[in-house]
Symmetry: C2
């Protein structure tokens, strides 16, 4: 399955000026597509922080998506940070300059920032009219404006297609400490199923929500039945 | 000002099983307290991932808060991962064992996991009745259950007290490309103010929200007036 990481470049999120929307949306979209999201990082608008996060995620995951910092203003430093992360230079891309002119933008230092990309950057075309998605190695550099982020992600969404994970839940009134050994045994017997245990207080009578996830439907059902049998025994005691 | 990072240990967030609540809450709380949140990482329930993130954040920030993975079940691996991150062993802590007994829990492999902590771990007392906050160097290991996370954070909240940031906003109908040079000049003239520029589409007539933040009220007002003067010129053209 494709693995993915998302890097939110956003002082505005860390300081609470804006609520994070893009990672929150991408979680659900990647789940639908069947990719495995392995990491979300929300980091400051800082070249070193972005560069090191991009480099690390690029090594560890199939695909990396960044959000934000690609406009014309002084706080838009993602492209230069990606270049720094990969130790490459920056080039003015004629196809992007042409697009800026087509949009009727004056070509000045600010607008040309948007057309100056890391060496080796590929332009991934969408509908042929709007700004392309910028791809540097396995990193897609997307805009942070939520509406644009979502639209641009859909251009590359097919690359994230895998087999969707199936899920099951078991609820129990038993304490987590009383079911831990049982869950551990079921987990050991079903390595292809991921079993999680989440105590919830103040949400009705349930003490623990046990979640099961797998891409193997038969294994999922087998594990679910085994978990259920154990907690039913405890709940009836 | 105190700087902080938060590490959410959570397959359940990455896979979309549960919505992230703790970092979302902490953003606002740290803002109230006046600390600078520099990084949020949502990572998988994986010893290597947790260990390296904890080590890195511990070096870069004054305080680190982790969320999740501290219960008695097989997926609770935060404490051993923190130990791995700092290259220290684990010790069974008698004070915690006594607390488990006081709670009426049977002492078995599962419950004793909660009393086995990294070497050098300090127990930070809250109200003297509930489980203490676990502190390993500058890392606070908090439970992931939102209600508990918030309660435990309040025990250590005074450590995060600084001077609250003040903010201002300027809205403009100008395009970001047309205000970039002006913003950059105001930013250069006001290094103690952080100026951000966020295009927003489909939200009324505003094209760009310009945010200003500073702990220096006079500098903030000076920068706000300078930004406003520039965009008023453009908006009236």
């Amino acid at each position: 399955m494709p693995t993915a990481a998302v890097i939110i470049i956003g002082n505005e999120i860390l300081s609470g000026k804006f609520t994070e929307e893009n990672a929150a949306w991408l979680i659900g979209r990647l789940r639908e597509l069947g990719a495995d999201l392995g990491r979300i990082a929300v980091i400051a608008d800082d070249v070193d922080a972005i560069a090191s996060e991009v480099r690390r995620c690029s090594e560890q995951f199939d695909w990396v998506v960044t959000s934000g910092g690609v406009g014309p203003t002084h706080d838009d430093i993602t492209l230069e940070s990606v270049a720094a992360g990969f130790g490459v230079g920056m080039t003015r891309e004629p196809a992007l300059v042409a697009l800026l002119e087509k949009y009727g933008l004056e070509l000045n230092d600010a607008t040309l920032r948007m057309a100056t990309v890391p060496d080796g950057c590929e332009l991934v075309e969408g509908d042929g009219r709007s700004f392309p998605v910028l791809k540097v190695r396995n990193v897609f550099v997307l805009p942070g404006v939520p509406k644009l982020f979502k639209a641009k992600f859909e251009v590359i969404a097919p690359l994230f297609a895998g087999v969707a994970v199936q899920t099951a839940r078991v609820r129990t009134k038993a304490r987590e400490t009383d079911i831990a050994a049982h869950l551990s045994a079921v987990q050991d017997a079903h390595p292809e199923v991921e079993i999680g245990s989440y105590p919830r207080f103040g949400e009705g009578d349930d003490h623990v929500i046990i979640t099961l996830e797998s891409r193997d439907a038969a294994a999922l059902e087998s594990a679910r039945m085994a978990v259920q049998a154990g907690v039913s025994r405890l709940d009836s005691q």
